[in-house]
Symmetry: C2
Subunit: 260 residues, 2 copies
Amino acid sequence: MNTRRDFLKKGALAGLSLAMLPELAKAVVNKQNGLTATKINLKKDSIILFQGDSITDGGRKRDSNACNTLEHLGNGYALFTSTQLLKTHAEKQLKIYNRGISGNKVYQLRERWDAEALAFSPDVLSILIGVNDYWHTLTGDYKGTVEIYENDLRALLKYTKDKLPNIQFVLCEPFTVKGGRAINDTQWFPMFDAYRLAAKKLADEFSAVFVPFQSAFDEALKLAPASYWAADGVHPDLPGRQLMADVWLEATGLKNSYEL
Amino acid sequence: MNTRRDFLKKGALAGLSLAMLPELAKAVVNKQNGLTATKINLKKDSIILFQGDSITDGGRKRDSNACNTLEHLGNGYALFTSTQLLKTHAEKQLKIYNRGISGNKVYQLRERWDAEALAFSPDVLSILIGVNDYWHTLTGDYKGTVEIYENDLRALLKYTKDKLPNIQFVLCEPFTVKGGRAINDTQWFPMFDAYRLAAKKLADEFSAVFVPFQSAFDEALKLAPASYWAADGVHPDLPGRQLMADVWLEATGLKNSYEL
């Protein structure tokens, strides 16, 4: 404690803020991705698209092609990430869209990809997909495997990169919040871990920003139980959505507007 | 530029983050409130209540006494402030309520204060009120003056402090976003400025945290026009709501969970 106090005191004296201390999101990203990891570059009028399943969908309205609105961003992490992006990078006049759809697995992204991803010509494409690719093998009659997940997602990324060579990918780690209602340890682990590792592997293959959501929730569980962060273990509640936004912003390097 | 670059380079070399650079919210709060201003202390299970008018209300549901939910926090700055508080201070297990009501002026807060403020026994009470106290003198038949605003708000704060001696007040500056549709300069200024100054004066009288929203929006207008932050000049849009959350968190000292 004394050491930290002394450090803080020196920081305060030097006119620095407490914000420089490692926060959860920053600590996790630095640990998982390292300081030299890929970051996202925004330019004026950049288009950002969030794609994925229900966690991304967040109950968004689907009645128009509006960007940057509460209704069309939904109320999941995409909203809380977007409000920060819109505030922090105001001078960029970003256009942010959400096209997550509840229940989606990778092959379902592919089915609607031309109209609901490529058509936007996004500068930044953020994808969070995978929990249903495993979950639905437990709860429904879906017969997918981790190999299908990895190969389908690789093909999707390659197809996208071929069409939009300058696209910047943000690949989010599928995750579970252990202790949540829907997460039965013996049903989920270690099988689900393979999906997370596949996403990380593909992030590396495509020089994508990797967003380490699993590590963030694992750390967060040291502060409060699953019922606080994501009661069902799959769909984060408000604190979990804000945590995701923080981790996304840290991983992409877009938390601050200052550029070197 | 070179000086800033050198500074950044040294910061990076020392393992510090860009986050230590002054951001808009931090710069505004430090300038307006100074570094020795009152801050808020949270403890385990602290109760936080947001009170005010439509800007606080944010379309919240009024069907139950739930705290911490998306529906009951509304979708204004109270939501975006709350998600950060819930994430950053997870170990505190905060209970956050919103009782803003669209159209309210100070005297209307007083009419419902026992049931909708005191009954919560809040540890932290955040109040944003005043824009209607002036606006409705222009648009309706309300006959209030800035003296009535100041005296009513002082009486409300005194009444509250008498009932709840340990309460911590957060008094938010009423504001307009110049250039917004509803803000006709000759109708609003300098008359409205007196309401802002009254709020600041009362914050000082009651040792409340003062949240300098007007300065924040004035700075923000250097980055993007009113149509981006708050198209009507009164009710912030998403980027403006996030900016308000940032300023609130900076002013209260609750942006980070680390304590000296």
